[in-house]
């Protein structure tokens, strides 16, 4: 990737430093914060408590919740399709669909897999016309009912945005208390000098607006309905825990 242009930087920043009454700073000690209220929140909670918080928050953000095991995930997804009167779907090209036993859904002719069709326009078109977009969650924030997705390559931005409805598959192992844990992980990447995904989405429910008389209307430019499917991918470990307890 060739680097982009930066214009007028020196004059501009010299002027800023000048107004601040000093020379330009080339190093700054990181700020010393004395309290970290955000890190304390939900620190003690285990996965089942986090799941409870998440489910409760979903009521507040108009988001449907279903629960599934790896064994019945496919049926649960199909039930949501029926409920949403959905036939066509757009999905990510993501190995997790295979790992979670969803090959039979991905292979359906009414399902378009991101990136498979040639070209940007065709992919966007397919997502635009789909009844449902399905993605996995990379981090799930219990406090705010948020699905964090790291887009890129087969994980297209449009899949969670353009279809009429949105389904997020949430492996329980992705649950964390709040935004703090996700931003810490992203910060770690940045600190190592890695380039971040061009788009990281924090999605909390369907799109909405209160611009008309402050009345909340769900479904503005993005999905009209959103459904989170919690999948227990921790079953085995849990069993072991019980046994040793």
């Amino acid at each position: 990737m060739s680097s982009g242009n930066v214009q007028n930087q020196t004059t501009f920043l010299n002027h800023v430093a000048d107004r601040l009454g000093r020379e330009r700073r080339t190093t700054v000690n990181p700020p010393s914060y004395f309290s970290f209220p955000h890190q304390k929140m939900g620190k003690e909670a285990d996965i089942s408590e986090l799941a409870k918080v998440l489910k409760k928050q979903c009521l507040a953000i108009h988001t449907d919740v279903r629960e599934a095991t790896i064994n019945n995930l496919r049926e649960v997804i199909d039930q949501v399709f029926v409920e949403y009167e959905a036939i066509t779907a757009a999905v990510w090209d993501d190995p997790r669909f295979h790992q979670f036993g969803l090959d039979s859904i991905v292979e359906r002719p009414q399902v378009s897999v991101w990136g498979e069709e040639p070209g940007r326009e065709a992919n966007i078109q397919a997502a635009e016309q789909a009844d449902v977009g399905i993605t996995f969650s990379d981090y799930t924030l219990a406090e705010s009912g948020t699905v964090v997705i790291m887009n890129g390559a087969g994980k297209g931005l449009s899949v969670s945005l353009l279809p009429t409805n949105y389904i997020a598959i949430i492996p329980l192992s992705t649950l964390v208390p709040r935004m703090t844990q996700a931003t810490a992980a992203i910060h770690e990447q940045a600190e190592k000098g890695r380039r971040l995904p061009a788009c990281i989405n924090f999605i909390s429910g369907p799109s909405n607006s209160a611009d008309i008389e402050l009345d909340l209307v769900v479904g503005v430019h993005g999905p009209v309905r959103a459904c989170y499917i919690l999948v227990d991918d921790l079953k085995k470990e849990k069993k072991n825990e019980h046994e040793t307890n």
């Binding site: 930066v6 390559a153 990447q189 369907p206």
Partner: protein, 474 residues
Amino acid sequence: MAMKIGGRSFDKRAEQGVRDSYMRETVRTAQERLYTNKSQAEEELGDWEEWRSLSEKIRSHTVDNLDYYLERLSENVSKNGGHVYFAQTAAEANRYIQSIAERKEAKKVMKAKSMVTEEISMNEALEATGVEVIESDLGEYILQIDDHDPPSHIVAPALHKNKEQIKDTFSRRKGYQKTSKPEELTQFVRKKLRREFLEADIGITGCNFAVAESGSVALVTNEGNARLVTTIPKTHIAVMGMERVVPTWEELDILVSMLCRSAVGQKLTSYVTGLTGPKAQEDVDGPEEFHLVIVDNGRSNILGTPFQSALHCIRCAACINVCPVYRHIGGHAYGSIYPGPIGAVLSPLLEGYEDHQDLPYASSLCAACTDACPVKIPLHELLVEHRKVIAQEKKTTLGETFAMKGFGLVASSPRLFEMAAKTAPALLAPFTNKETIEKGPGPLKEWTAIRDFPGPKKERFRDWVKERNKGGAE
């Protein structure tokens, strides 16, 4: 639309606001709802004061070292393949944006709501070169098709309009045929704008926060329009006020949490989008070209002055939502795209006292704004600071100068100051002298005359809200 809106004098605008009973009722309900939601959201966070102090620290550290963080930001954007343009003035910013549109032979630009582009009149600049600019935020869209009616609130721009008015505008301008139900109105806009999105050449957004360490831009929205604007068009231009930077993603966490709670009482809005553009080679959608325009437009004049903390603002509108003056005169009366207490502080700083000299008087100094501010900007003290400057420059009435001196004395002692905030009537006394009202804080006479306003003359706004909820006042 530049910062300045509405041609007439402040007195006239305020008077009109006070007379518009529909607008006042809407604003009253809105303020109450937003205030209640924010209070709930504060409680959920645990120690709100601890969060506020942390946020204040983040903002002051960043602004104190603004040159350093802007340099890191711009280097990182460039490293990712994005372009950065530092614009000293609105004209420079607009010229740069026009030149991109020209090079791309753009016909249609989709915009997501952004205060700074309003401030620099970017739409007009693009339209002058024959480019169509479409606002995609529902509230902004409503205003745009209603002959560019100015916004009256920084979070809910069309707050002053009711659904019947909106329906009428839609049918007059866009052939809308359904009812005034918000659901139907919204569905109509969704359909209309989807098509526009798919055809747009350039997407333009503001920037809630830019993250220096990674060269990212964070957008905080509910509707999803900012996502569309940054997903479909092949070019994305983000325009940011130069102060909207944070050091790392860890600070972003705190400030986004505070912004969402303070603005709308949500834990997070439906979409918080972190963009580190342009798209990577292997990505299919997202912008192929990314430009970040960093705008000064008068901000640097605020650095190194007693007003520097005004640059800590995260544009949450919490101060507007508790302001008893805003409640009575409405957003348009401020004559600036930035209304309410932050507008009264910011507008004279960015555009000079000439056009905005009445604004620092559009306050009862009840301190509700300062209490509400998530980054602890001492708004009412800054208003007093403005009055001092104006009083000194204009050598206004003796009474006023005297009042300023008196207040300065009080304000310099925090304990006394706190008492003073509770006993605002005493401080206002000099302004109730007839002569001073006419020459100085004109608007006071309008809103203090309101029958149903028990306001700061007798009790602080906070106490008053409590009282109201018990079914007390009105």
